[in-house]
Assembly symmetry: C2
Homo-oligomer: 345 residues x 2
C-alpha cells in the first residue's frame, strides 16, 4: 500500500523549508518592492521612500526559558529582535506591533513587566507601539513582533549587493549572547533541586546582558548615515556568523573568506568558554542572537569605515561560484556550514 | 507578610488588558498617524497616502482545532483574518507576512497544504506574501499574520467617526461561523472513540464554509469605492456583533440601537440552532469569527447604501452618553454586553 509522503522539516532546514513553501508566490502588486528573502519586506511608500516591515515569532521553551529570563528583559529583547531587522536594511524602525499569546499562568502584573521592558527599548530606539493582538494560549507565552521602518529607497541596503573584494565588517563582538545562554542553562541544571538557589553569575554580567538584554545597533545605522557611508549588503546577526554570512553570500551570488583571528570576541566570552571547555570561535560562528550587524563595503571605503570606531573588518567577499571559508592562523581554510534551525526542531 | 499582587487576566478582559498594558505609550514619530485602538495601525506613506498594518495571532487549541480544521483551510482563513483588518479601514490589503511556529509533528507536506490555502486566498484578494519567520515550537502550530495595506489618507475609515443618527450597516449574515464551529465540536465529541468516524455534515455545508473558509469582504470595499460611499466608521466583525459594535461606539463616544428582527441570519444558521437548541440571535451577537464588516453611514446615504445590495441596515447610532441596546420585536430594550476573550482564558 502506498503511503502519503511525510518529509521531516529537519531534512530541509529553515531556509530550505522557506524556499519550498514560498516558491510558488510571485509578487503581483507594484508596491511590493522586495518580498521574501531579506531581513524585511520593502514596500513602496512614495516615489522616493519605502516602508519596511519584518516579523519575528518568539516561543517559550524554544526561544526563551522563563525559568531565568525576566519578563522585563524579554520585552526589551523582543523590541531589539524586531528593530534589528529594520536596521539591517539601513533603515530606522519607527513602529512596532506586538502579538501576545498568554496562558492563564500569567498575571496582569507579569504582562505589565513585559510591557515595561518594551517601553524602555522603544524609548531608547524612538519607536512607537502602534498596535497588536492579545489571545489566550494553551500553555506558555508566545510573542510575535512586527517592526516597521522607513527609508529613502536609494538608502536601503539589501542582502544581495555584495561584490567581490568588498570588505566584510562586523559590529560589536560575537558569541557573548551564546555564552550567556550557556551560563544560564548551566546554573539552571546545577540548581535544579536546590531550595534557595544562588546562581553564580559574578564576573559574567556582560554575557548575561548580551543574551538577556541586547541592544539594537541603531547607533551604527545613524553613524553610517552621518558619514554618508552606504554598505553594499547587510544582514542582522541573529542566526550566527556562519549562517548569516552564508545567507548574504547566497543572496549576492558570491563567496567569502573570513579570518579567524579577526573575529571580535570579548574577553568575558573567552574566559567563560575556557571555564566551560567550549570553543569561543564556535560560539561566535554558530551561537547566534548577537543582534550585531554584518555588512560589506567596497575596499575603497576601508579607511572611512574604520574611522567609525564601531566595526571590525574580518575578511572579504570572493568571486561568484566560490564558497565561504574561515581561514585559520596557520593558513588552512575551513569551509563554513550553517547551523541553527535544523538542530532545534 | 505582604504578597505581590496577582491580578488574573480574566478580571480585566481583553480590552481592559490592552488599555492597561499600552496606556503608557504615546506616539512620538510623526509618521504614526494612528496607533493602538483600531483594526490596523496607520502609518504615513506620502503626503496623501498611508500604509496600514495589522497583526493577528492564531494558536492551536485556542483559535483552531486541527482535529477537524484542514490545514489548507487554515491557511486560507489566516489570510482572511489578516485581510479583514485592512479592509475594515476602507483600504485594500496588498502584502502579508506570515510567522509560523511548528512542532516536529508537522511534516513538510502538511505545511505545504497550509501554504496552498494561503496562496489561494492571496490570489483571490490580490495579496503578495512578502516575508515571514519560521521557528520551532514545543507543541502545536502557531500562526501570526501581519497584513499590510494602502489607502489615500482621506479614504481611511476609523472606528471613531460614527455620529448620532448614522445608520448601522452589516454585510453578509451573522452567526453562521459560530454554528459551523458548534457542529464541528459536536461531531468531534460524538465520534470521539468511533473507529471509522463518519461525521454528519449534510445540509450544513454553508455553515462549515463560513467557519473554515470565510471570505474577506474585498468586494464590499471595492463596491463602496465604486459608489464613492465613505462610511463614517467601520470595524471587522471578528469578536461578535455585540462586542464589535460596543468597540465602535466606545471609540466614537456614542451609543446604538439595533433591532433584533433586522439582524441578518442565514436559514441554515436558524436550522442548526433549532436542532441544537441554541438561540441563533445569541450566535449572531456573541459568536464572532464572521469576518463581515460593520459600518455606519449618514442617514442621507440610506438609499445609496441599500442600492449596493450588499448590506442590511440593522439600527442607528445614538447620542454620546447612551449605551448599546438590542430592541426586541415586542419593543423591549436589552442592553448589550461584550463576550469573548474573558470566557476563553
Amino acid at each position: 500500500m502506498e503511503q502519503n509522503k511525510r518529509t521531516q522539516i529537519a531534512e530541509l532546514g529553515e531556509f530550505g523549508l522557506i524556499d519550498k513553501l514560498t516558491g510558488a508566490f510571485a509578487p503581483r502588486n507594484r508596491t511590493t518592492l522586495r518580498g521574501v528573502g531579506d531581513d524585511a519586506a520593502v514596500i513602496a511608500a512614495s516615489r522616493s521612500e519605502a516602508t519596511l516591515v519584518s516579523t519575528d515569532l518568539l516561543m517559550e521553551g524554544i526561544d526563551f526559558d522563563l525559568t531565568y529570563f525576566p519578563l522585563k528583559h524579554l520585552g526589551y529583547k523582543t523590541v531589539t529582535v524586531g528593530a534589528s531587522d529594520i536596521l539591517a536594511m539601513n533603515a530606522l524602525p519607527e513602529q512596532l506591533l506586538l502579538s501576545l499569546g498568554v496562558s492563564s499562568k500569567f498575571s496582569v502584573e507579569a504582562l505589565q513587566e513585559f510591557y515595561e521592558g518594551v517601553r524602555l527599548a522603544c524609548e531608547e530606539l524612538n519607536i512607537d507601539l502602534a498596535g497588536g493582538d492579545t489571545t489566550a494560549s494553551v500553555t506558555g507565552l508566545t510573542v510575535n513582533v512586527t517592526a516597521i521602518g522607513r527609508a529613502r529607497r536609494s538608502d536601503i541596503v539589501y542582502r544581495n549587493g555584495a561584490k567581490p573584494n568588498d570588505l566584510i565588517c562586523i559590529t560589536g563582538n560575537l558569541g557573548a549572547a551564546y555564552m550567556g545562554l550557556q551560563l544560564l542553562e548551566r546554573e539552571k541544571r546545577v540548581l535544579h533541586d536546590v531550595e534557595n538557589p544562588e546562581p553564580q553569575f559574578a564576573g559574567h554580567e556582560y554575557l548575561l546582558e548580551k543574551y538577556l538584554k541586547p541592544r539594537a545597533r541603531r547607533d551604527v545605522i545613524a553613524a553610517l548615515a552621518e558619514e554618508k557611508l552606504r554598505p553594499t549588503a547587510m544582514i542582522d546577526l541573529s542566526d550566527g556568523l556562519a549562517s548569516d554570512l552564508m545567507q548574504l553570500c547566497k543572496a549576492s551570488d558570491c563567496g567569502a573568506r573570513i579570518y579567524l583571528e579577526r573575529i571580535p570576541i570579548a574577553r568575558q566570552t573567552h574566559q567563560l568558554a575556557e571555564e566551560m571547555h567550549t570553543d569561543p570561535v564556535v560560539a561566535a560562528l554558530n551561537g547566534g542572537q548577537d543582534h550585531e550587524l554584518l555588512f560589506t563595503v567596497p575596499l575603497s571605503m576601508q579607511e572611512q569605515v574604520m574611522r567609525l570606531g564601531l566595526v571590525d573588518v574580518i575578511g572579504h567577499i570572493t568571486q561568484p561560484g566560490t564558497e565561504c571559508y574561515l581561514v585559520t592562523p596557520d593558513g588552512s581554510d575551513i569551509r563554513l556550514k550553517a547551523q541553527g534551525f535544523k538542530e532545534e526542531i
